[in-house]
């Protein structure tokens, strides 16, 4: 899922300055799971904004809405009336959600309430960690399903650096050494021989470094 965090309230207030009819719209998929942009966070943000506007003596009407998915056109029409009512829309979706809304409603002003961070997983309640860099050339099969490109601070593909201590990365004692995880997992799976294979340097042309990527499936087009 896409993991994000809400921007500081002061920054959001700057972004929506001048609004008189503000629509706060969330997304109930990824950013709801990471407690950044679901309907609860919409209610939270709207409450904070209402208080901030009243403190500032600004008469701003705030409406709340949430979509199942902000990144899929089929859902975006559900907020058509609210978007038409608003003079500014504050999106609690990820960066893709904000842009999808803006494409769908080209005449409206959209601003982001979140800082989109990474593709990650819910490690435990309240903890989200980065697991995937979206490199476009997945090599997890070589590494016991632990991605060194994402989870090794140095993105090393052929073994650990010399900075690993007690299973932790020298960059931070809070960060697991990805190569320790890879070794432990392959050992547990009796697949340590996989580490004998040389893994070529990553082909970053398949990543965003190559260009903004588009996938086209003709069989799914209408």
């Amino acid at each position: 899922m896409i993991v994000a965090e809400r921007k500081p309230l002061a920054e959001i207030l700057e972004l929506v300055a001048g609004a008189k009819r503000l629509l706060v719209v969330g997304c109930d998929t990824c950013v709801a799971e990471c407690a950044a942009g679901g309907r609860k966070e919409v209610a939270e943000t709207a409450a904070l904004l209402r208080m901030a506007f009243e403190q500032a003596g600004s008469e701003v009407e705030v409406r709340e809405a949430s979509l199942d998915r902000q990144c899929v056109n089929q859902f975006l029409a559900q907020v058509g009336e609210d978007v038409a009512w608003a003079d500014t829309v504050l999106s609690l979706g990820c960066g893709a959600g904000v842009q999808a809304l803006a494409r769908f409603y080209p005449d409206q002003v959209f601003v982001p309430a979140l800082n989109t961070q990474f593709i990650g997983t819910t490690v435990e309640a309240g903890v989200w960690a980065e697991d995937c860099s979206g490199c476009g050339d997945c090599k997890l099969a070589y590494f016991g399903a632990v991605c060194p490109l994402t989870r090794c601070s140095k993105r090393l593909l052929n073994g650990p650096c010399g900075g690993s201590r007690n299973g932790k990365c020298e960059v931070s004692p809070d960060v697991d050494c990805a190569w320790q995880l890879i070794y432990d997992r392959l050992a547990a799976l009796n697949q340590l021989d996989r580490l004998r294979a040389f893994v070529a340097p990553n082909d970053w042309s398949t990543s965003h470094s190559g260009r903004p990527r588009t996938i086209i499936r003709e069989d799914r087009r209408v």
Binding site: L9, A10, K40, A43, E44, A47, L48, M51, E54, Q55
Partner: protein, 148 residues
């Protein structure tokens, strides 16, 4: 949220786990048994409270919010009261973003084995909120809904 709201004095929201018998008895005694300006309501568990609800109380004009939970280790849902404590702390932090004193949100565990007096707990909270003064927020309520 509008229940029992007076047009004078502090506006206080109190939410409690319905297993808190003293608070439930106070609720059953009716509005006249409550201090003016207190909105008292039960929850199936204190863990039902969410930060956005607490913040909405303040956006609607509350001056303080008190969450009363079961004693530590005595939640029938095991973790509900501990989760409520964290959520109340989170909501209090968000109030700080607006320059409001986080002490306007108070979470308290009931003391195990004691017969706490809910009226005195609420009165003490009202006193602490009175010391902070009104938030200056009316939540759009008209007619002088806030203490000056």
């Amino acid at each position: 949220m509008a229940r029992h709201m007076s047009k004078q004095g502090e506006h206080i929201v109190v939410r409690f786990c319905h297993n808190q018998a003293g608070f439930m008895n106070l609720l059953k005694a009716g509005p006249k048994a409550l201090p003016a300006g207190v909105d008292l309501a039960p929850l199936p568990c204190s863990g039902k409270v969410e930060p956005h609800q607490i913040l909405s109380f303040f956006a609607a004009g509350a001056d303080g919010a008190l969450i009363q939970a079961c004693p530590l280790g005595a939640c029938r849902f095991v973790e509900g009261n501990r989760r409520a404590a964290k959520r109340a702390a989170y909501a209090a932090e968000r109030l700080s973003e607006l320059g409001l004193d986080p002490a306007r949100v108070r979470f308290r565990y009931a003391e195990a084995g004691s017969n706490e007096d809910p009226e005195s707990i609420i009165q003490e909270f009202i006193k602490s909120i009175r010391a902070l003064g009104p938030t200056g927020l009316t939540g759009g309520r008209r007619g002088g809904g806030k203490a000056k």
